[in-house]
């Protein structure tokens, strides 16, 4: 009985609260990214526009974080980095935005303070939660900064896989290409590899790959619409060892032309056979 009472007491005394603001918490940011190169020791200045889409005044905090990919799905993780924060100096770190107002905040990229090579960072603007109890909500929007500082990092990539259906029907050729950044995962370097895909003997295209961090593999969908018929050798190359596969393509207008030709041939054969006089053998 005592145990039951104790349990009952605990059951009703354990309290916690959760609250979100009823109104929307919103922020808007532009531009969405900066891609640039800093020569050794160079500084560059840029800006982000942070705006408040709502009709209530909001307090906004600005900060810089680094980011990295943590898996082959491209999952990003943002984390504080003192060196990167030091090298991307914000003009303001906090501000108040009146309803429907915007702030252009300048920042300075300092090549002397940033790590050399690839730098991946984000300038974040976040709302200050106004609820005062429970799990408070904050929204944060970011401008990505992807730059090469001083001596560029060496980049290399391999095609880790090339997948394509052996029979290609439809609007064109389709394949899935895996591109692997061969650098050591611990270097946190990354780049956007160019992937050359040839459809021999027909065509060759270059696909701009997604951001691939060191040690990661990202997947790229290859689409090449066109009128292809017959065996096609698909070859993918990202600078290292290429990979290839054979497919049989019936795409574009061949999807209807090929069956039409086959039907015409069959019809022709039947007509030809039927049009021949019966041959009888007389003894």
């Amino acid at each position: 009985m005592k145990k039951v009472l104790l349990t009952l007491f605990l059951a009703v005394s354990v309290c916690t609260t959760w609250a979100t603001d009823t109104h929307a918490a919103s922020l808007k940011i532009a531009p969405l990214k900066y891609e640039t190169t800093l020569k050794s020791g160079e500084t560059k200045k840029g800006f982000v526009d942070v705006s408040n889409p709502e009709y209530e005044t909001v307090k906004v905090t600005l900060r810089v974080q680094s980011f990295r990919q943590i898996d082959d799905d491209g999952t990003l993780q943002y984390y504080p980095s003192a060196q990167v924060s030091d090298g991307i100096q914000l003009d303001l770190t906090s501000l108040t935005l009146k309803p429907r107002s915007a702030m252009r905040v300048y920042f300075l990229l300092n090549g002397n303070k940033l790590p050399s090579g690839d730098v991946f960072a984000a300038i974040f603007a976040s709302t200050e939660p106004s609820a005062r109890s429970g799990a408070e909500q904050s929204v944060r929007v970011g401008t990505l900064i992807m730059l090469s500082n001083g001596t560029p990092s060496s980049h290399s990539a391999d095609i880790s896989f090339l997948r394509a259906s052996w029979l290609q029907l439809g609007d064109g050729l389709r394949a899935t290409v895996g591109v692997h950044n061969t650098a050591d995962e611990r270097t946190y370097t990354g780049f956007f590899p160019d992937i050359s895909v040839k459809a021999q003997p027909y065509s060759s295209t270059t696909v701009k790959g997604p951001l691939v961090f060191a040690g990661r593999t990202r997947t790229v969908d290859y689409k090449n619409d066109g009128n292809y018929f017959g065996p096609v050798r698909v070859i993918a190359n990202a600078g290292g060892q290429p990979r290839s596969t054979w497919v049989f393509a019936i795409t574009g207008y061949w999807v209807w032309l090929f069956p039409s030709i086959v039907l015409a041939i069959v019809a022709g054969v039947i007509w030809f056979r039927n049009s021949q006089p019966n041959i009888s053998f007389r003894r």
């Binding site: 354990v14 309290c15 609250a19 603001d21 009823t22 891609e35 943590i70 300075l108 909500q137």
Partner: protein, 440 residues
Amino acid sequence: MKRRVGLFALSVGVISALFVQVVNADRYTSSNYTIDASEVGNSFGGASSDADYKLTSSGGESVIGQGSGGSYQLDSGYVAELQSSLQLSVQPHALMGYYPLDETQGSVYRDRATSGIDGYPIGAPTSVAGKVGNALSFNGTSQLVSVGGSAGFQSTKHTLEAWIKTTSTSSTMGVVTKGGDFWLGIDFNKVAIYDWNTGTTCSASTVSVGNGAWHHIAATLDSGVTNGSLIYVDGVQVKACTWTQTSQGGSTAIGAAAASPWGQYYNGSIDEVKIFSGTLSPSQIKAEYSAGSAGSTAGLSFATDVVPGISQTSSYDAIVLTDAPNGYTLALSQNQNLTKGSDTISPVAGTIASPLSWSEGTTKGFGFTLYGTNATAIDGKWSSGTAYAAFPGSATSFYTRSGTQSAKDVINMRLRLDVPSTQPSGTYTNVITTTGTITP
């Protein structure tokens, strides 16, 4: 003045030129002036004072220098003009309209939900002290707030809420109504809803609200379900009714019955009107009442008491608007585990990479799941919203949308909490941050 404007213009151009590969000739306009980054330039960062950049237009807008680097504020008018941008909002799930009615001047009562269906007064209702901030007082004969035409608030389920104050009356008065659809109001001092299908009023006959005090009234409406629509007064369910909508295309009003002509004018004060596209649970209604009673706009909460072994859930929507051509990524983080002094509530065992199914009574802790989106199918690892992950300490992406979307994306999030019986009581706090960036 022209020289100053020229210097300002020159500075923006130079800075833009430094980043020509990304900052494309953005053109920012308001109704009163334009800043075109392709035509102007400067070298911000000197010892210039605010006055060097200050532009004051005939409409009173101003550009105000702040910060040593020349950052400046652009007053109203720019928000909608930003291109290559991303807007992220979070709000309680299914909130379609929220009218705090706090405005003391002007002719617009803003919708604080992301629907942006603002209200416009008819007959000049007056601003008075409200339950939370300000409220509107209606005269009962000619005043109302019209909140949108036929396109707004279309759903077969609703939750309607408001704080009201009125004195005894022998009339029928609309509080928040939509023609052919919902009607929450007062019928001879009783809180009532109106069934447009049968033409009958269903009222909470035992509870009178016409005593001159503030009362929280709410209704959860589920069209066509017998006794599936519930009336609440001050956080307590007082009546079950059958309600069936006949149209979703009527006009919506606060303080009158939405019809042509308007009628059933409300006499008294109305505050904190909310319209949802779904039905809130009794605990959520109770929490709304509790928040308002405490003078807070905070709502949508876990029940105040979390009983060990019985998990509590709460939902919110992350809403994204962007013109990014290659999609966007959302990430989540928390600054700490839910904490009260030295006590914490542990996170659930699942992670964003590997969410785990919630086992009621067994799973303990605090976690989240992704259970729906109007943009793309959610990843199978979330098991349609039954698998939960802990909030990471570092912002970690959990949802990616590829390509360019043409409309508002709404991603539905659900939070879930259960605690062991040994958990000390009290209020636990943390900050959950939802982050939006483009997908690199």
